[in-house]
Symmetry: C2
């Protein structure tokens, strides 16, 4: 296809989505839930077809020489299809944010003013190879009254189109516009570039995947983006920490899972407890074979630790590697987090109430914790029921993004004939 043809195709998708967004926004809660259930049914009923289409992607991926980990992410089997269906059914049980009215005030002029929660409109989602994102993301967009345009990894196109067929069957079964959910039907990379210019028909872009994808999307997009780039998360062990608690939290934050954005990447320790704490921590983490890198003061205590360079303080390892720094005091710790951190998730371990409260107020990250593992920064753990991503941006939504983050509030005014004097 030529560039012009791609743009024309994308424009068609955009116009259809804009129209469908109105249908999604005014659909009743029951209609949207019925569609989600019907989508789950359709996925289970089409399991054989889904697996057949997926095997086309897998074969092509093998021919292209994709890595084993990538092929595994790409793979659909009965269990994963069941998980997708269960995910959609779970979304039916979540509270519907759409139409919720709050903050109703009765003002002197006689008007009543409040806020009503409403969908954002059309959500563009750009993601990599996991085909389950197609169902998960579409389900969250539908439940929050939005239409979506999905652009998955090109190596998953057969799988995604097969999943799409089930999702659209679910929409139709509930009497809804099938264009509420669309998939970009081409593997041409220029389609993404074209999509990112469509600020008339897409209201927000959510990129999900590796850093290079998210950087490209942020850089090119004319449309507002909800995203996070890095998760350089810190645990600060304060002078007044319960050191046993601190050890368990730091251990969990580092070793529970390595390849996740809410894992601890840098450990900060108050100099007054550094010797006692680091000795016990190093002993506890030994069996996990985590490579320790430290500042000079750390290395005086942990002689086997490698020397950390400035670059380590800003690195999201996503691996069994940990940077450790001994800090002078609370202010030094906060200054380090503000200078080198990524505003994702940071925790203090302390028994000192004043410092705990100061940490909450002064650390400008999307999630700030006292005496808990950074691994809790997650939509499910926070009770959102599901998440479409995590935002480290300053506007609109910070931290795990659930249904509410896919909506906004408009003002509503109820009067009985008021005019302005």
């Amino acid at each position: 296809m030529t560039k012009v043809e791609i743009e024309k195709q994308m424009r068609r998708l955009g116009n259809a989505a804009r129209k469908a967004a109105r249908a999604a926004a005014v659909a009743s809660t029951a209609q949207r839930n019925n569609a989600l259930s019907a989508m789950a049914d359709a996925l289970l009923k089409s399991a054989k077809h889904l697996i057949a289409e997926n095997s086309k992607d897998l074969d092509a991926g093998r021919d292209k020489g994709l890595e084993a980990a990538m092929l595994d992410r790409l793979k659909l089997d009965h269990e994963r299809i069941q998980n997708m269906a269960d995910g959609l059914r779970k979304i039916t049980t979540l509270d519907d944010p759409v139409g919720q009215i709050s903050d109703m005030q009765f003002l002197e002029s006689g008007i009543k003013v409040g806020k009503m929660r409403v969908p954002l409109g059309v959500i563009g989602i750009i993601y990599e190879s996991r085909p389950n994102v197609t169902a998960d993301a579409a389900g969250l967009c539908l439940k929050s009254g939005n239409a979506c345009i999905l652009r998955g990894g090109s190596e998953a196109l057969h799988s995604n189109l097969a999943i799409l067929k089930c999702l659209r069957a679910g929409l139709k079964a509930a009497g809804l516009d099938a264009n509420i959910i669309q998939v970009v039907p081409t593997t041409d990379r220029r389609a993404v570039g074209s999509m990112l210019q469509m600020d008339d028909s897409i209201d927000v872009i959510i990129p999900r995947g590796g850093k290079s994808l998210i950087e490209r999307v942020s850089k090119e997009s004319k449309i507002p983006v909800i995203k996070h780039l890095d998760g350089v998360c810190h645990v600060y062990v304060d002078e007044d920490a319960d050191l046993d608690m601190a050890r368990e939290i730091a251990l969990n934050a580092k070793t529970h899972r390595y390849g996740v954005c809410n894992a601890m990447e840098t450990l900060l320790v108050h100099k007054a407890v550094a010797r006692r704490f680091l000795g016990s921590f190093a002993k506890a983490i030994k069996k996990h074979k985590v490579q320790l890198k430290g500042c000079d003061r750390t290395r005086k205590i942990l002689r086997s630790a490698k020397k950390a360079s400035a670059k380590d303080w800003t690195t999201e390892y996503l691996a069994p590697i940990l940077a450790i720094k001994v800090v002078d005091d609370f202010d030094d710790a906060v200054a380090h987090i503000e200078k080198y951190g990524s505003h994702h998730t940071d925790a203090i371990v302390t028994e000192n109430h004043t410092l705990a409260m100061r940490f909450l107020a002064e650390v400008d990250s999307s999630t700030v914790m006292v005496n808990a593992s950074t691994r809790f920064a997650d939509g499910f753990e926070f009770g959102l029921g599901a998440e479409i991503g995590i935002s480290t941006d300053k506007l609109h939504v910070r931290g795990p993004v659930g249904l509410e983050g896919l909506t906004n509030q408009k003002y509503i005014v109820l009067g009985n004939g008021q005019t302005r004097a």
Copy 2:
């Protein structure tokens, strides 16, 4: 100055603002209020100096041949200085949004999760000739715990720098970093271009002024923008409207003030009541000498009305001109608003509860009203105490933007040693 020098100068402002934003965010409510009061005192004490500096701007403006209306907007006198000071004192009385904790939940894992309201960081404000915006905008940014970089109209630079001096004196008197408030100290237009690229040091841009300014800013900015472009506001007179109420609302919405974004620009009337309503409305509006333009059905009733073209439905007149359209029914009215409107403020007049509720839900505008004049869409009328602007965007904030719109919520987690299983 060369482009490189301007960029360097702007970079210095940006770095100072980023540092000052931390000071603003952690300042106590009392400190921020004390600064606001001291700023008001300083403005009053410096009235003579302010007027002298302002007269330099006025002289230069006259030499440049600025229009009388523009010169009037530019002018500072004792009354206007008093108003600026009163505005700052008023801001001290508003509730402090910073640090407010809400939605605290106790979860099964044992952690407590809630949200804390926090400043956005550094706000860039780009505006036109009124120097009072310098004090108003800076006051709102400070109260909401933000630093700001202000870029006023080049014709007001002497006035703005003189006001800045008072504002910074107020900050210093309260023991705060004076760089919490900065003014771009050059009239060079390239400074705006440079400012709009500084996404490392500015978190959000708020343009205030004419449409061309806002369009330029939106197009060039790498930083998220909070804005509204147009106010094409509608009043829809439903079949079940109290026609006397409808007449008063429509009259107020059109004639209370013409040059404002929440004035009605298009009147929609249900065909079943068109003849009765339009006759009485035309009689009532006659003395205001508003030019009426209408669709064919309107012109059969109001023979003196000019023919409205497609362009009229999307035009913000900001003048004594009104477009009128007779619609078939409620759905036709909503479809018109969605197709031609600007998502600013739209009202229905009806006694029908179901249609009133449908209008609230189905019209995707930043403010939606039942039985009230669109002129109420305003931060003061909504009880926000003040407004820094109005947003017709989909993300972050919709409608009048007050202190809360200059903040966001982050997640906070309180634990007592929880780790993830």
